[in-house]
């Protein structure tokens, strides 16, 4: 389980996060939801140690972040993080060189699934193709958790469909997924849990299925109630 406890972050004299606490369980898809600037990406970056917290704790399966965490948790940022000069095949080799959790066979499957050409250079990829390759880099690791920052941002309908399709395959099955997205409506059926962020704090945390069956509301309905005030 990923536990975020009382996370604070101050940036340019402003409290971006003001005591954020929530959990993301293994085997579930948890979505961090909030309006622009709510601090969703900052939470993911702070979990991965890419930006320091002013205060707070992050625990992964009960342990503080350490170097082995990066073998256990994959992070897929909102943009590709491989240098432009690299060929896609070189990017895969880089990952295989550095990560013990790298699964070459799975990487091959994903490259085929997204119809990516290994001889292409990273710098020449379109936004949609880069997003798919980004997903390959993150999902081909045998990790317990995957963190995704806006995996559907700015890409076309067909690319979105093929990325969403990944969520219903065994590539995700059994792992804990924590993602941020603005396209909640499109992937609502895939979500197990939602965490609504507002004014730097968790406004509501709920199981999507429970809200659907008990209150007859969709995630978007709850978002409107909580965030649109």
């Amino acid at each position: 389980m990923i536990e975020v406890v009382n996370m604070h972050k101050r940036y340019r004299l402003r409290n971006v996060l003001n005591g954020v606490s929530f959990t993301a369980e293994k085997g579930q898809v948890t979505c961090l939801i909030g309006v622009n600037g709510a601090g969703k990406s900052t939470v993911l970056k702070a979990i991965m140690g890419l930006t320091p917290m002013s205060k707070g704790t992050v625990r992964i399966d009960g342990r503080a972040r350490e170097r082995e965490t990066y073998e256990k948790v994959a992070f897929i940022p909102d943009h590709l993080t491989m240098p432009s000069y690299m060929k896609l095949s070189e990017g895969l080799r880089f990952m295989a060189d550095f990560y013990q959790s790298w699964n070459q066979a799975r990487a091959g499957e994903l490259m085929k699934f997204f119809r990516l050409d290994t001889s292409e250079r990273v710098g020449n990829l379109s936004k949609g193709t880069a997003a798919k390759y980004n997903l390959v880099i993150g999902l081909a690791q045998d990790t317990d958790y995957v963190l995704m920052d806006e995996p559907f941002s700015g890409i076309d309908l067909f690319s979105r469909e093929s990325i969403a399709e990944v969520f219903s395959t065994d590539l995700i099955d059994g792992r804990g997924v924590l993602l941020t997205t603005h396209e909640v409506g499109e992937i609502e059926h895939l979500l197990d849990k939602a965490v609504l962020l507002s004014h730097g704090t968790v406004a509501k945390e709920f199981q999507c299925e429970q809200v659907r069956s008990e209150e007859g509301k969709s995630v978007v309905d709850v978002m409107r109630e909580v965030l649109w005030v």
Binding site: M48, T51, P52, R67, E68, T69, H79, F98, A130
Partner: protein, 282 residues
């Protein structure tokens, strides 16, 4: 393979074309100017033989009338030093770019570097070692180039017009080379110790800026001023290595400066490791 070595390999691989380009420019300019100068000098002497039946045509540069490799080096100061200065400028610029290239552009590679399952100090050490390897690589290349240039000298200049010279004279003849290749070991350790402490201090300044952004620029400037002050405090108080009336013996001055370099290196490395591990932000 150890992840530090993999990172080092990657850093060297990323700079390989620029390094090869600098080596090619250095070789082309130096060899080109040597060939041009020698061909002209030899032709002048051959013409004089035809006119006067003698090669005794002394000049300020070649008083005996014969050509020596050392004198040739003295005569081509500017063009010989130009590629060296260019290489120093490019390497100096790359001390900044080796960090900033990972932050800027469409695909920010620093995310991937910081997410590697290895101690973050390896990123710092790989970049520092890469810079050291580039500097020593260029130096080694220049050292290899000198005998090649000597061979070219021997091929162009006929034996009867040639005067032998020592390599120490060749290095001393050019103003740029004694700085790159000091003739005594203490001076070598001093110059390269100073250079490497400066590189590490700049690394730490860059990490301060990357960690605290706008406020970090101020911290970085203050840190560099503090390091520079520590290093120049002795020379400013006239306690230099070369000053015979200084209070300190040259050996004492040398030892104290070495300790100061070691302190600058230790504080830069410690702070750099700490910033990378705890404060860096993408």
């Amino acid at each position: 393979m150890n992840r530090y070595l993999k990172l080092l390999h990657m850093e060297i691989h990323r700079f390989r074309y620029i390094l090869a380009g600098l080596m090619a420019i250095t070789a082309a300019v130096q060899i080109g100017v040597i060939i041009r100068t020698l061909v002209r000098e030899v032709a002048k002497r051959k013409e004089d033989i035809l006119n006067h039946q003698s090669i005794d045509v002394g000049s300020a540069l070649f008083p005996s009338g014969k050509l020596s490799f050392a004198s040739t080096m003295f005569g081509i100061q500017f063009w010989f030093a130009l590629p060296i200065l260019l290489s120093i400028a490019v390497l100096g610029l790359y001390i900044f770019l080796i960090w900033y290239r990972d932050w800027f552009g469409r695909h920010t590679f620093v995310y991937r570097l910081l997410l590697l399952p290895t101690a973050r100090r390896n990123i710092y050490l790989a970049k520092a070692t890469a810079i050291l390897a580039f500097i020593l690589g260029m130096l080694a290349f220049q050292l290899l180039l000198l005998p090649v240039e000597n061979v070219i000298f021997n091929l162009i200049v006929p034996a009867e017009m040639r005067e032998a010279s020592y390599f120490a004279d060749v290095i001393a003849a050019n103003q740029a080379l004694p700085f790159l290749l000091p003739q005594n070991f203490d001076q070598f350790v001093f110059s390269y110790g100073l250079g490497f402490s400066a590189v590490l201090a700049v690394f730490t300044a860059i990490l301060l800026e990357r960690s605290y952004r706008r406020l970090g620029i101020l911290y970085a400037i203050l840190y560099l001023i503090a390091c520079a002050a520590a290093v120049i405090i002795l020379p400013v108080s006239n306690q230099t290595y070369f000053n015979p009336s200084a209070y300190l013996y040259p050996e004492e001055f040398f030892m104290i400066e070495m300790v100061i370099f070691a302190l600058v290196v230790a504080s830069s490395v410690w702070l750099g490791f700490r910033l990378l591990a705890k404060k860096i932000t993408v």
